[in-house]
Symmetry: C2
Subunit: 149 residues, 2 copies
């Protein structure tokens, strides 16, 4: 793997995780995207719909389709947002909370298994490299002409 | 970042890289997917179309749409595969080779910049964790019931 570029390693690893999560979600007649959406909703107080897209790194139209799907399955419902006259709070139904717990277990199982198979220092390196990538991209330091934007 | 799950870090980092690559590709009226496709094609001998999908982790229908697009732009062309009567070899036109070189520079610039900002041991940790993730997923060792499949 050492001869692969960093972006290739990121992409191929994330693709494998995606496929695995979708396989797991399929057992519960769900998808990875649905599981991540449920996980992004506060199980007690619900979450303003406007906070979900940014939190999930998702376009508004994709999110809206997902929410409609989850609503159709009886996993979420909408209430007015008292702090925002035109906004809505997305809340989990009891069945939505159950499905959220399943998603949470699937995610924790993955993360715990990986943590148990890597050294503390390798994990630190993984987080440091990811943090560096995110920092350099956010500060637009990768491509020279990015500074001119 | 340390309080984030491993899968969250993978996903959010890859999402940022995707957005950055698409921004760069946009400057050349291209997309990240088109750039990766050009990079997957051997510039001298071309590549059998059947090898591109797996190499890029892409479904056949998405790849077929991409290739049609690249062909329409005059960046690739198809010749019969001498080793496979029904197969085709995807080859780069001179302009396709030029665009491939640009993609290559964009990818190298990203990777070199990151390498220059992380320690050797952190980078080793990053690769080790990614390799562990890929290994555990490929051997279906994350979820117990995966063994029963």
């Amino acid at each position: 793997m050492k001869d692969k570029t960093i972006d290739y390693v990121l992409r191929s690893t994330w693709q494998l995780v995606t496929r695995m999560y979708n396989e797991e979600a399929h057992k519960f007649e769900s998808t990875m995207a649905m599981g991540f959406t449920l996980l992004s909703i506060d199980p007690e107080n619900g979450s303003p719909s406007t906070t979900l897209g940014p939190r999930m790194g998702m376009e508004a139209t994709s999110l809206s389709r997902l929410l409609k799907n989850l609503e159709g399955r009886g996993l979420i419902y909408r209430t007015p947002n008292p702090d925002d006259g035109r906004g809505v709070i997305i809340r989990l139904t009891p069945e939505g909370k159950e499905k959220r717990d399943i998603s949470r277990e699937v995610v924790l199982r993955f993360n715990d298994t990986i943590r148990n198979h890597v050294s503390e220092s390798d994990l630190k390196g993984f987080y440091n490299v990811a943090e560096t990538i995110q920092g350099l991209i956010s500060e637009r330091k990768i491509y020279q002409d990015q500074n001119k934007d």
